[in-house]
Amino acid sequence: MARAISILYALAIYGFIFLPVAVLVLFSFQGTLFPIPPFNGPSLRWYQAVLNDARLTDGLVNSIFVAVLSSALATLLGFLSAWGFARFTLPASALLRGFLTLPLTVSYLIIGMGLLIFFNWLGLPKSLAAAGIGHVVINLPLCFAIIYSQMGEHQANIERAARDLGAREWQVLTLVTAPMLWPALFAGFFLSMTFSWDEFVIAFLLTRFETTLPVEIWNLLRAGLNPKTNAVGALVFGISILLAIVFELVAFRKRPQ
């Protein structure tokens, strides 16, 4: 009895979690003008419309571009700082680590607002680069925290061994530390990618003519309910699921010891 109730409850929660996505995908195949019941389809006309919309395809390319570059930079800075804090005794280390993770506690809206005013004041125009800088700000603390948490003492011993065998500091870092920590580096990079790929408000505030996909989708919403939005949403969903599967296969596969 308790088991049956548990199963029903879990199914109800799954239903709630999946409801909007199911509706989104179903009505992306709508044949008529509105993504509301009754369903007339299936039709691919709205997918066609998405692929013929240069703003959306440009937005897609811009999003990938910003996500890859900003995540690579966030991972690099996060890795270097995690290594520095884990391997050296620096004064005020705890305070500085706290400072690095501070952006995690501030909402994206406020980070975006600050950068908007700051760039405005410096006379820098809105651009994809500005949004990318914002994405590094939000993802750097995350990369730092993930990589720092994986820096254990056993790796320090291997690094010492490498140094004893004559490796320079930068050789230790690139040839010993980075390969040992690659799951953490990959996790940091990948999480940053997904956050950047999905980020709206910073990109909305800091870009103007060339912008990212979430902002272009937002612009579509002004037209109200529209199956084209469903189609682009379903495509984004598909791409993200593919990325998730890749992540799952690469990061969590059991490695031979």
Partner: protein, 279 residues
Amino acid sequence: MSGARQPIAGWASVSPALLWTLVFFALPFVAMAAASLFPKGGDGLSLANYTQFFANPSYWRALTNSLEVTLVVALISILLAYPFAWILAFVVPERWQRLALMLAVLPFWTSYVVRSYSWLLVLAEKGIVNDTLLSLGLLAEPLQLANSRTGTVIGFVHFFVMLLTLTIFANLKQLSPNYRKAAADLGAGPVQAFLHVILPLTLPGIMVGAFLTFVLAIGDYITPQILGGNNELLMPQLIMMQIGRRGDFASASALSIILMLVVSVAYLLCARWLKIERA
């Protein structure tokens, strides 16, 4: 030679990240704080943007709306997520748990904007919910679900049920089964064991999730704007409105700083449960 005796290499490796955070996070924040003190159209330094917040009831209302929505969302999400996490941790067989969790996270791989939009499809006047209830004869008039606080709360709860399930699940899995056995041996019934042993031990998971809910929900612009509409404003909507419609960066800055102070207070209240530790 041990690394601990070469602080120069240490500084060299930590400084790029520190500089980045200083230049693109701390300085913009200072610029924003400074901007908030020079009201638009005013003559120089003034606290007018802050006093206006307390004097103007519609501004004050945006903060209380935000707090109300966030607290309601956190509460509903905890109540829905806890039993779900429990079922995943203790009812679902061990080898299916990973799959069950992945399944629960799957819908959140859509973009955030798209997810809010898909709730609009569900909740709209002619959407799935109203269509179903009307055709079943359970309703005479469509419910106002979208463009209302209900819409905002549903959109938020959807995301935070998933998030809290993850934090509570992780916490439940860390508990040794011995706690439950010990409680039972000492004569506690299942309800007593839960209230006095399991629940206090899972408080950290609940608090981490609740804090994340608070921080992420109170600063979010997308969900209230798409699902709540402009009938009542939450803080982020008010801030965006200052920039968008009025071009008033000073007022938007002041409101952002007030919002940040509110989040900081919440952080201090939860600080003992939120620690980043090195393994």
